[in-house]
């Protein structure tokens, strides 16, 4: 039997995103040359929300992009192909400050793949990583620069991020499977 615990409700997610948006602007020293790139799937929606928040606060129109890292994964043999590979569409990254946005940071392998893919599209001046949930458990030396919330979980735990654009509601849940 699995137990679901709520980590963030819709209002907590909203507050976290507002703080993350202003942290991005702070860390980038403004909004010049900033590009928000969401990792498929829910990173794309989060990047769109951060864009709206930053645009409203700074009167800008930040370019955004989406990245599907499926073809850059290092575990095709282990998990088999994903049935459908998502879309990748990126603006010009040359000399930009690229903010990679994802929902959960866990092993760091997705981010490793995203860095490889971004490099194939251009040479950004700087790359930042922004995640809604950092759940620990890294397998690679990778860290996030802007974090919504941090939790420390074991390998049998799972974090589900649901977003209204895709799932009808905003919630972050911890799904815990007790050891058998």
């Amino acid at each position: 039997m699995t137990a679901r615990t709520q980590l963030l409700d819709d209002r907590a997610i909203g507050r976290a995103l507002v703080r993350m948006a202003s942290e991005i602007v702070e860390r980038c020293g403004g909004t010049a040359d900033v590009v928000l790139v969401g990792i498929q799937r829910r990173g794309v929606e989060l990047a769109q929300r951060l864009k709206r928040l930053i645009d409203a606060a700074e009167q800008t129109d930040l370019p955004t992009g989406k990245l599907d890292i499926t073809l850059y994964r290092d575990d095709l043999q282990a998990i088999g192909p994903r049935p459908v590979v998502g879309e990748t569409s990126l603006p010009d990254l040359e000399g930009r400050i690229v903010v990679i946005v994802d929902d959960v940071l866990y092993t760091g392998r997705t981010v490793r793949a995203a860095l490889d893919e971004v490099t194939d599209f251009g040479r950004p001046r700087r790359v930042l990583l922004c995640v809604l949930v950092d759940r620990g458990g890294r397998e690679l030396p990778i860290q996030a620069d802007v974090i919504g919330t941090t939790v420390s979980l074991t390998a049998t735990d799972r974090v589900d991020v649901l977003l209204s654009e895709r799932d009808g509601r905003d919630v972050v849940e911890l799904v815990r499977t007790p050891p058998a």
Binding site: L71, I79, P81, V84, E87, V104, D120, V161
Partner: protein
Amino acid sequence: MTGLGKDLVGLEPLSADQLRLILDTAEPFKEVSERQIKKVPALRGKTIVNLFFEASTRTRISFEFAEKRLSADTVNVAASGSSVSKGETLVDTAKNLEAMRIDMVVIRHGSSGAASFLGQRIASNVINAGDGKHEHPTQGLLDMLTLRDRFKRLEGIKVAICGDVLHSRVARSNIWGLTKLGAEVGVCGPPPLLPRNIEELGVTILPRIEDAIAWADALNILRLQLERMTAGFIPSLREYNRVFGVTTERLKKAPKDLLILHPGPMNRGVEIDSDVADGEHSVILPQVTNGVAVRMAVLYLLAGGRPGPQQAAGGDEA
């Protein structure tokens, strides 16, 4: 969600879901070929042998681009200049290649069933790039992808396959694939060039090219395969063009604009006139572009070995 299994020998053994899986997977691969760096690391470290016992330019190069754009290492073996010309059997050639630790074989062969025969005897993935008069699955798939691009669906569209259906593996792959996904298929050609009892495959026979033009949404015009014709199937090329050639004059009489496909290489002035081949309704070059995407999808899906897990909710990265 089902995968594709070990080999792709034809479209006949595939289910409608498997066909859709390949076409849907091909979509994102189209974009990879539009990038400045046309390469993704999905098949890094995989070794693929392109074993071509028959002449081919388009298919071989298309497979090679697909392999290279997925970062696989490739070797091309042509029958002439290899030990095949010294009398080595197909299985021996393949077993020797396998002893060098390869992962996949793309094979074109003059004998129907060669790909399936090989697939049962070696552990590597086998992809059929055309076997005799049997099937040419990736050509069928790229035709389907091109039709789906233009019509946004395959269900209910009418495709007339015109010309030398008897000798055509492209025709067979098209018939299997299109009918499984709900399209209507007609065949049109001189009776000696239509296989006997072909209506048992669920296709409509269109006796004259005018009938095909009046009936269809798209024409897939086959090449007259002169190299496979041993007997006198047609009186002359001029006669064939006069009776079955797809010309602008004939297309003008069509009730609607028809999409024009041709698997290539074309015999201009025989089965298709130049102004039709280069005309605004021709998708002959988009077919070639789609060919690379479809082959990338097939290589990618076969390389994975087994189907992937579908994540219900987002969240954890693997």
